[in-house]
Amino acid sequence: MTGLAGVDRALGDEAALPRDNGELVFEEPWQGRALGMGVVLLERIGAPWPEFRRHLAAAIAARGEPAGESPATTYYTAWLDALEALLAGRDVAGYGTAGTTTSGPSASGSSAVSKSG
């Protein structure tokens, strides 16, 4: 399994995991699960980290910094965008053709759900 240090290296600065003085920031359990889901999925389908990183960086750029949303929420929402974009790009799990999402991160970003309240 890819260790956390390996994930940090793979993501680099531009797509770095949200942290608070070293500690991973998970404001809600789904954020940690999203991270874990990505690590397990990449390993399972043999997708290289740079490919995921490109999707993630694009999704982060597309989302920007929505007002009223915490950085960790925005980051892990972009993380989901990136996972879906990766699946679409590889035509895995029904994504890409008949999938639940359309194509790239910008498309899923524009149609994405927003946090209510």
Partner: protein
């Protein structure tokens, strides 16, 4: 240990993005691409993958490999990257070596900057105002309170960390460790040794 399932009691309705995350996980699980247990294992590992073992590995290598030690002291970032450490926020790591006449101590007087990719999370005392102030004003007394008695001939150098530069103390290899392996040596290197508030012991 975490429970084997992602089902939690909800005191409030799940947010839309949370529902989306769950739906994606369910879809991937259905296709056999992820499993709840595998995700749990990653989350648990990452939440606990915070400790000084990376820094200890760096010091262990420096103790057995003089060329590595020189690279570490000359360019901390490159040297820790050789062992696979670093990444975001590890920028400008400066390793400072203790010698018979110099003892190094790390502090962050402004807040709690810390070389976490190597040492994990800072201890509470590191973040406390008394430590942050006294490490600078009376380091010898602070060290004594930590149980480190230094002779008058030993100069104490205090390094003030910042967001830009973070320090790692490379302690002296203890005597009597000649036959030990790199791994055995690394096990002697505690967090406090690499902050400078302790000395490695057999």
């Amino acid at each position: 240990m975490s429970a084997g399932h992602g089902h939690h009691h909800h005191e409030r309705p799940a947010s839309a993005v949370e529902l989306r995350a769950r739906a994606l996980e369910a879809l991937l699980a259905e296709r056999g691409l992820v499993s709840t247990d595998a995700i749990d294992a990653v989350v648990e590992l990452y939440e606990n993958d915070i400790g000084p073992q990376n820094g200890a590995a760096v010091v262990g290598r420096a103790w057995v490999d003089d060329a590595y030690r020189e690279r570490l002291l000359a360019d901390g970032n490159s040297a820790i990257a050789e062992l696979g450490f670093g990444g975001a926020e590890a920028d400008n790591l400066v390793a400072v070596a203790n010698t018979p006449t110099v003892h190094n101590l790390i502090v962050c007087t402004l807040c709690s900057c810390y070389p976490w990719p190597l040492l994990g999370l800072p201890p509470t005392w590191y973040k406390s105002p008394p430590y942050r102030a006294r490490a600078v004003s009376e380091p010898r007394a602070v060290l004594r309170e930590f149980g480190v008695e230094l002779g008058a001939e030993v100069e104490i150098r205090v390094w003030d960390s910042s967001a830009e530069v973070r320090y790692l103390v490379v302690p002296m290899r203890p005597e009597g460790t000649e036959g030990m392996s790199e791994t055995e040596l690394a096990a002697l290197v505690t967090r406090d040794c690499m902050v400078g508030t302790a000395l490695p012991r057999l």
